[in-house]
């Protein structure tokens, strides 16, 4: 379950140096890796020592303001057991759960958007996408990352190196007019086409050596190399 690459994120993770969605993917890994969880705990304590070394006196009025505030704030109940159902291990801190939940919600909302757009089209087609999405998400190294598309919209890439595939989900893209949105595998060499967006999504088979996925607006039929500015790049984990 533990790949050296994923494991190496423990340091960046406790320093909050991992971007939001990549963090969600790492937390999935954490929930299955006892050694990582132990290491994260120790490194977090270590980071705390770094933090304490920066201690400074706040202005005195902060105290009275905080104390006045808390008398008006209702406390949350203990963590509900819902999310741990079926899992023998205890989950991470509430913080972790909320980020995982946020990533799941994001993906779910995109998927829902995709499904809604297609209600009058082929339902089986939509189901197929939902199936391939969940297949990738179940891979131990599944990663979710996103980026804002220039000109509007969001691109979410769910990828797995192990499965050597990715799913690109775009949301709220502007109308490409007579053209088409084309995805590219970006890496050290020349950009390679990852295919044309069919509606708001694209299955990408074979990640090759790509380090990120890019999106451009190309003339109808697509291009062999990008002819327009890259509107968004989403890094692969």
């Amino acid at each position: 379950m533990t790949t050296p690459d994923v494991h190496a994120l423990t340091g960046a993770y406790v320093l909050d140096a991992v971007p939001e969605l990549e963090r969600a993917a790492f937390e999935r890994h954490l929930s299955q890796c006892d050694a990582c969880t132990q290491e994260v705990r120790e490194l977090r304590e270590t980071a705390t020592r770094l933090g304490r070394a920066a201690a400074a006196e706040p202005p005195p009025w902060l105290r009275s303001q905080v104390l006045a505030r808390i008398s008006e704030v209702r406390q949350l109940p203990p963590e509900p057991g819902l999310l741990t159902g079926g899992q023998p291990r205890t989950p991470g801190w509430a913080l972790r759960l909320t980020t995982v939940a946020a990533a799941v919600l994001l993906v779910a909302s995109v998927v829902l958007g995709v499904l809604l757009v297609n209600t009058q089209n082929d339902v089986r087609d939509a189901e197929q996408y939902a199936a391939s999405l969940s297949a990738i998400l179940q891979a131990p190294d599944a990663a979710v990352a996103n980026g804002a598309v220039q000109g509007g919209g969001t691109a979410v890439v769910v990828s797995s190196r192990e499965r050597n595939e990715a799913l690109l989900l775009a949301n709220g893209l502007s109308d490409p007019g007579g053209g088409v949105y084309q995805a590219w595998k970006l890496g050290d060499g020349d950009p390679k086409s990852a295919g044309l967006l069919d509606g708001n999504r694209l299955d990408i088979d074979g990640l090759d050596q790509a380090t990120s996925i890019g999106l451009t607006k190309e003339p109808a039929g697509g291009s062999t190399t990008p002819t327009a500015p890259v509107l968004v790049t989403v890094d692969l984990l």
Binding site: D5, A8, L9, T10, G11, A12, V14, L15, D16, A17, V18, P19, R41, E42, L43, R44, E45, T46, A47, T48, R49, L50, G51, R52, A53, A54, A55, A56, E57, P58, P59, L62, R63, S64, Q65, V66, L67, A68, R69, I70, S71, V73, R74, Q75, L76, P77, P78, E79, T90, G92, W93, A94, L95, D235
Partner: protein
């Protein structure tokens, strides 16, 4: 300000000042007096860290206030088997500080600041008002045992609130190397500081 009745949380051992873990568990049961004590115990480290990351004094005060209210609100979600109460607080503080700097600046703005080298404020201004001198000395000594790349990566990520990608760009070093240095640097720090295994 409200009238406060001073009393020791009922979980505290008579005569001894309760530690952060004990206090946080009392806070989870809605004990406001325990919260006041906990505040006094953690605010210095939490505010200092937030100040180091956020830098702007007014924004740092805002974030510190958010963190303390969040601490009150989520106290019942703390569980001692996942780490110390101080670490819980500091994790919350760092996360919020980082959220603030990442959302406050557009990517372009951030790049400008990176290239400008953030030279507007002397690095050790905050360090001068350090209250826990002893601890500070030990941390400084242990940071000194790291390689330059380990130390710079950790400092940029933790005190600078940078993502590891930004750290990679700033230090002109491949991402894989940065990830590894962040990890093995922290491991070396852990061993030097004698953090309980």
């Amino acid at each position: 300000m409200r009238e406060r009745v001073r009393r020791v949380p009922h979980t505290a051992t008579a005569g001894a000042e309760p530690d952060a873990d004990t206090l946080l568990q009392a806070v989870a049961r809605g004990d406001e007096q325990a919260f006041e004590k906990l505040y006094d115990l953690v605010i210095g480290p939490a505010f200092g860290l937030i100040r180091r990351v956020v830098r702007d004094p007014a924004q740092s005060e805002e974030v510190a206030q958010e963190v303390m209210v969040e601490l009150w609100r989520t106290a019942a979600r703390y569980s001692p088997d996942r780490g110390s109460a101080m670490t819980w607080v500091m994790t919350l503080a760092h996360r919020r500080a980082v959220d603030r700097v990442r959302s406050a600046q557009s990517a372009a703005d951030r790049e400008t600041r990176v290239s400008a080298g953030e030279s507007s404020r002397p690095f050790d201004e905050v360090a001068e008002i350090v209250t826990m001198k002893l601890e500070h000395e030990q941390v400084r000594r242990c940071l000194g045992t790291l390689t330059d790349l380990q130390r710079e990566s950790i400092t940029l990520a933790y005190y600078g609130g940078r993502t590891y990608r930004e750290v990679g760009e700033l230090l002109d070093t491949p991402l894989g190397t940065i990830k590894t240095r962040l990890r093995d640097g922290l491991i070396r720090l852990r061993d030097c500081l004698g953090v309980a295994r």
